[in-house]
């Protein structure tokens, strides 16, 4: 199982405790997705692309996906090709 790391632009809200709340993801193609809900935040291994990062489990519409943050840069795991 492999994929590729796609870095994305993230619109972020930072609360008074310093916690990050990603609100939307914008791809290089300018396609924007609003995040409806963040259901989980934890450090996790990015199984498809490798490495470890802070993993945000996000709901976009009816779909649940992972958004990763690694040293201030955000990425998603995309299918290869």
């Amino acid at each position: 199982m492999s994929g590729k790391k796609v870095y994305v632009e993230v619109h972020l809200r930072v609360d008074e405790e310093g916690r990050n709340h990603p609100e939307s993801i914008t791809f290089k193609t300018a396609k924007k997705y609003n995040i409806d809900k963040v259901t989980d935040v934890r450090r996790a291994c990015a199984m498809k692309v490798g490495g470890t990062a802070m993993r945000y489990t996000v709901k976009i519409g009816s779909k649940t996906t992972y958004l990763f943050e690694d040293k201030g840069k955000w990425f998603v795991e995309a299918a290869e090709g």
């Binding site: 199982m1 492999s2 934890r42 450090r43 996790a44 291994c45 199984m47 498809k48 692309v49 490798g50 490495g51 470890t52």
Partner: protein, 414 residues
């Protein structure tokens, strides 16, 4: 209260991290190898699949590839390994405040007071293993016991991503049949010596008379006796508190073999610069120097000598190393790798017994010059002041300072 200590060891640390970083490597024979151009072309770590093909840590890459033609050799990424070590420390510190690292990939955690029973400790160990898998994508083996020595032995016995527990009730049955050299602190040479006395297992060692062991091996004999009988009481350091530094060394494999004393002197001088600075940073002085010489037939010899004055002077350490080399090395083969170590360390302000034969004022003056040189280098960069002979072409590899930094060292800098 009975202590509960765990020892956790990352399985094939460097190779597992490389596989975690690049999932395409998973399930394949992978080895982390040094640079062939810089002649560090040896296997530093290997994956389980490579191990099954007979690849061994420390062997030359071409030998490993002969055994395992499909072997994928990747270069090391020490900065990333240090980062993983730091992340691992965060996991451990969620379970205990007493976390003591041993190198980059092993750690002891004292769970006394945090886990009320071995069953609870085992549940914690399972959780730690699960967190390593999910958070870092690597596996650990965990040993659980009532002292550090047995916990370490248990983690060696535990399989990949497994735990192994030994209690005060069953250590005789589970650990005493093991070969004596499997116990921490007993190297191959001591193991052979013990075998010469028909002491083959840990149980044999435990049954020896302590006084007799002491008469043969000195203080180490008593330690071995205590360790084999489960009497080790050494404490696990508090997180962030570093264990006492016992030696400071620096070694390199040269770009080309060294062929004469002059070249060896330049390498010793270069290596000692680093040692002098580290001794100063730690506030330590060395009373003895140790050198390791590896020749081009890959035979390593080690020599040591005492210094007439305990020092942190890089020049004095290099001189002592060079004199020792000249006295001991017979030049049957050219030299491939050299290491210098400052040993018998003590605090700089330790009162010293002076004698009549050394010129202490001259020594103090030399130290002042060295301090000034270190300060100039700190302010204006490494190349600001150089020994003249080090300006000539040498055989020292360009990345001779590259090495992984255990997380605790980073921790202390902050």
């Amino acid at each position: 209260m009975e202590r509960i200590i765990i020892h956790s060891d990352m399985n094939s640390c460097y190779a597992s991290i490389e596989c975690s970083l690049n999932p395409e490597l998973k399930g394949k024979p992978v080895a982390v190898g040094g640079s062939r151009e810089e002649r560090h072309g040896i296997i530093l770590a290997k994956s389980e699949e490579a191990k099954r093909c007979g690849v061994k840590t420390g062997e030359v890459i071409w030998q490993a590839q002969k055994k395992c033609p499909d072997l994928i050799v990747v270069p090391p990424h020490f900065d990333i390994y240090s980062e993983y070590s730091r992340l691992a420390s965060h996991i451990y510190s969620d379970y205990s405040d007493r976390v003591e690292p041993m190198g980059l990939d092993e750690v002891w955690c004292d769970l006394t007071g945090y886990a009320k029973s071995y069953a609870e400790a085992e549940a914690m160990a399972d959780e730690i293993r699960e967190r390593f898998r999910s958070e870092l994508g690597i596996t650990v083996s965990v040993g659980i016991s009532f002292n550090k020595i047995f916990a370490k032995l248990c983690s060696d016995l535990a399989g990949r991503d497994e735990s192994f527990t030994v209690t005060r009730d069953n250590f005789r049955e589970k650990l005493w049949p093991l070969p004596v050299s499997s116990m921490m602190g007993i190297g191959s040479r001591t193991g052979r010596k013990l075998e010469g006395y028909c002491i083959k297992t840990i149980g044999d060692l435990a049954a020896c008379d302590e006084k007799w062991l002491r008469s043969i091996f000195g203080v180490v004999g008593s330690d071995m006796y205590r360790n084999a009988n489960g009497l080790d009481r050494s404490a696990v350091s508090v997180f962030g508190e570093l264990p006492e530094v016992k030696s400071i060394g620096h070694g390199i494999t040269c770009r080309e073999d060294l062929t004469d004393n002059e070249q060896v002197w330049r390498v010793f001088l270069s290596l000692s610069q680093n040692i002098g600075r580290r001794l100063k940073n730690e506030g330590l002085i060395a009373a003895a120097v140790q050198i390791s010489v590896r020749d081009n037939s890959l035979v390593t010899k080690q020599f040591q000598c005492e210094l007439s004055i305990a020092t942190r002077s890089s020049y004095e350490i290099a001189s002592a190393a060079y004199e020792l080399f000249k006295k001991q090395y017979r030049w049957q083969n050219n030299v491939r790798a050299l290491t210098v170590r400052a040993i018998s360390l003590c605090k700089e302000d330790t009162p010293l017994q002076l004698d009549l034969y050394n010129d202490y004022r001259r020594h103090d003056r030399k130290m002042k010059i060295e301090d000034a040189v270190l300060e100039l280098r700190r302010r204006f960069g490494e190349g600001a002041v150089k020994n003249c002979c080090l300006m000539l072409e040498d055989k020292i590899p360009a990345d001779s300072n590259a090495k992984p930094v255990p997380f605790m060292r980073d921790f202390r800098k902050k």
